[in-house]
Symmetry: C2
Subunit: 477 residues, 2 copies
């Protein structure tokens, strides 16, 4: 939860750059970048906007660099005046990552959208941070390759690195942590550096790449990304399988993974989410816990996976299957999964939504989801659940009337219990959305004091002026 | 290369703890740990010994803790007197990682050898750092699970974390970076902390786990490890395939990986290594570049992989295959691969050996190996090559007479060209052995100044007294 009180206001006032320093930066940027610099109100608001309940805190200016050298120039300018720098991709993050609580300059990387190299033999590519995952996959198609991390939104790859994004493909291909080979970074001092080379592995020193992945813009600006790629599979089968309970669906998932079936996607929709998706995406599914699954590989391997998974599902009372055999049907299925957020809004039109995510060891997933469903019912809330269940990761969209103080208080209490439940089950307060502002208060519950102190020491060591996306990840004050 | 001169001696003298401080620590450890503390000369020497050309620099004392609490106590004692702490696993590292250039206390984790938990449903386990990978796999067998990272030596898992080890299984299962979920660390201040929870993924703050993986004991002592596990495959096929050239073998590897064949191991032995292994392991193979391969999965998937790989190898002039169909034959095959180091010694009995490793993008591997073979011939050296070619990673064992100053100088010049060749090809000076002392001098060639400065800043932030394995990774002085 955010601190929305006098203490927060005092912290913010104390940390904002002096007006003269800010004015100097704004004037210099206007002179240097012309129409690639904006102080237009709607542009500012759009760059702090995070599509969630978190209060808008807009930056003071937005600049649209074309090159790494320009980013370095902007960062040096801001560092010289101790003005905050907030890197911006597509603004699809959910925890207030792009907000500017202390004001400052938003660096929008949208124009840095070139795919610089595709090394098909090495299964890697080099991109600028503003390339979105859909744009990259369109570019890669004729190479027979694809980039497998798919968080749903057409996020920028820079933003996906920054938030350690994952999504439906992570059960098979891993998260951004597993799919970034190297990064080009503009440091908080405005120097340009490469974190690693293009070799597939290295033991040559501290893993600065992984330190930057998930650092949410607090340790530098990502200006170049070397990504691992995967070969487009020869064959694909996707389908939908209803289950008698969340537990049966989770148990089927555990058995699938334990059996070494290389499932490409395995997604749980609970009863409420199926109802919502039926309405929004016209699926016509039975309103019971349901797994959306996808298998890829050679035709023989896919046939074998389908058969093995079918046997597992059958043992647990799942079925009958509905297979999407045509590419259009598969696209419709995954579009429906990706539209779960929009679909959930139909359950309570006009309501505010808080989208949150948790992750627990998979053995605890059924318990965690089932207890959470009971808590939702007891709290009188509407909150459909979808999950990347192969990773033990699930999402809730809590729909509520934010003008109703009583309901808002019940939602806050529910969200607090939700995080504590996941932590009690050896889980994490966020599997893939990141900390931003929204989860910063929970880090002290998740990590021991020595680990939080180590994170703070690393932050101070790399960004001693605290200009890089201040107020994110580490709790304020 | 190490600095073996007066400058180094001066640095060492300046950095050694005062005699009184060291004596206080030694006396306290003797009183507290009794026969679990040793100053016996052969024990000291064994704990600095690294099986390589790097000069022995023994610690002043060796302590064998049983618990994390004891490790914390030792570190606090050493920190109080600014005496260096060198974590020790099995001493199988190759770059002087366990040497004690400034003296200090070696913490031998051999007694911390318990498997604390196996969570079969979650495919993970929790172990103490002294558990070796073979001991873990013996423990796991009845669960139908295994730990797939296999560097050859029966290394301790703590040491494997510390050096970011990988090996033959990395092409399929990744390196230690990809197989560690969380760590328990004793910080340089002697505090105990967990870097992460047991959830399969998290976006909750900086990735301290990955920061510790590969940090070579310079940021803390690893006292607990949560590892990802994999299901034992149903079927396995392994075989040997000769090729007309290194390039043909590398091209077959590239095509295999591009085709998405989930090869479990793919190892290159060059002509010289095949000759050595024929002698040592009685393989009777044709003395040409050869791939050792292994495929695992369901019986149908293995059959399909074998067929696809056979077609690729055939296209590139490889074959005929020699398949090891019996488990004993497979064991003999992989034992021979793991014995490559010992086998190479047969090429020049009595010679000194330097074992080194490099890694380049796989598209450059054939060039890198071929140029290196020409350089070996031109330099009049004996240096067989083996490689985890699926990762672009290869090893050389350079055999030479270290009493011959001329030959030693030629070896040093050759090793220098070797690293520069890999770096020129966008590679790294070490794919898996680590930096230790042996490669510390090359970090400035591999990383830009800003990245090295960032590593140094992180080190200072976490270990401001510089007591954790000083003189490793970052260049001395």
């Amino acid at each position: 939860m955010l601190i929305h009180d006098d203490a927060r206001a005092a912290l913010i006032a104390a940390r904002r750059p002096p007006a003269a320093a800010l004015d100097a930066v704004l004037a210099a940027l206007a002179a240097r970048f012309g129409d690639r610099f904006s102080r237009n109100r709607s542009v500012l608001d759009q760059h702090g906007h995070t599509r969630t309940q978190i209060r808008l805190e807009a930056p003071d200016g937005v600049v649209f660099p074309n090159t790494t050298a320009e980013v370095a120039e902007i960062v040096r300018l801001c560092a010289g005046h101790r003005v905050p720098v907030i890197p911006y991709g597509t603004g699809t993050s959910l925890e207030g990552h792009v907000n500017a609580p202390f004001g400052g300059i938003s660096i929008d990387t949208a124009r840095m959208d070139r795919v610089l190299a595709v090394h098909a033999e090495d299964l890697d590519c080099v991109v600028e941070p503003g390339v979105t995952r859909k744009a990259l996959n369109a570019h890669l198609r004729h190479h027979g390759l694809f980039f497998p991390v798919d968080p749903g939104a057409d996020a920028s790859l820079g933003g996906m690195v920054a938030t350690r994004a994952s999504g439906t493909g992570a059960v098979r291909y891993g998260t951004m942590k597993d799919n970034v080979l190297a990064l080009e970074i503009v440091t908080p001092q405005g120097e340009v550096m490469q974190t690693a080379r293009r070799a597939k592995k290295s033991s040559a020193g501290y893993d600065l790449t992984r330190l930057m992945v998930g650092s949410e813009g607090t340790l530098g600006v990502i200006t170049g990304i070397t990504l691992k790629l995967s070969g487009l599979p020869e064959a694909t089968a996707a389908g939908v399988c209803p289950f008698p309970s969340v537990k049966a669906a989770c148990d089927a998932t555990i058995l699938t993974i334990q059996s070494g079936i290389p499932v490409a996607r395995i997604e749980l929709l609970d009863e409420a989410q199926v109802r919502a998706s039926n309405t929004y995406s016209r699926l016509g599914l039975p309103e019971v816990p349901t797994l959306f699954v996808e298998f890829t590989g050679s035709p023989a391997s896919v046939a074998e996976q389908v058969e093995s998974f079918g046997a597992i599902a059958g043992e647990l009372g799942g079925g009958p299957f509905d297979w999407a055999t045509q590419p259009e049907d598969r696209s419709r299925l995954w579009q429906a999964r990706h539209d779960a957020y929009w679909a959930s809004l139909t359950l309570r039109p006009g309501a505010q939504i808080i989208s949150t995510d948790l992750c627990v060891p998979i053995s605890r997933l059924a318990d965690c989801v089932t207890e959470t469903q009971a808590d939702i019912a007891d709290s009188g809330l509407v909150a459909p659940i979808v999950g990347h269940v192969g990773d033990g990761n699930f999402h809730l969209g809590v729909l509520f009337d934010d003008t109703d103080a009583g309901e808002t208080a019940r939602v806050e209490a529910f969200l607090d219990r939700l995080v504590r439940r996941a932590l009690r089950m050896e889980g994490t307060c966020t599997g893939e959305h990141g900390v931003g502002q929204g989860k910063a208060g929970y880090l002290k519950d998740e990590h021991p004091p020595a680990a939080l102190a180590m994170m703070a020491a690393v932050k101070r060591a790399i960004d001693p002026l605290d200009i890089m996306n201040p107020g994110k990840i580490l709790p304020m004050g």
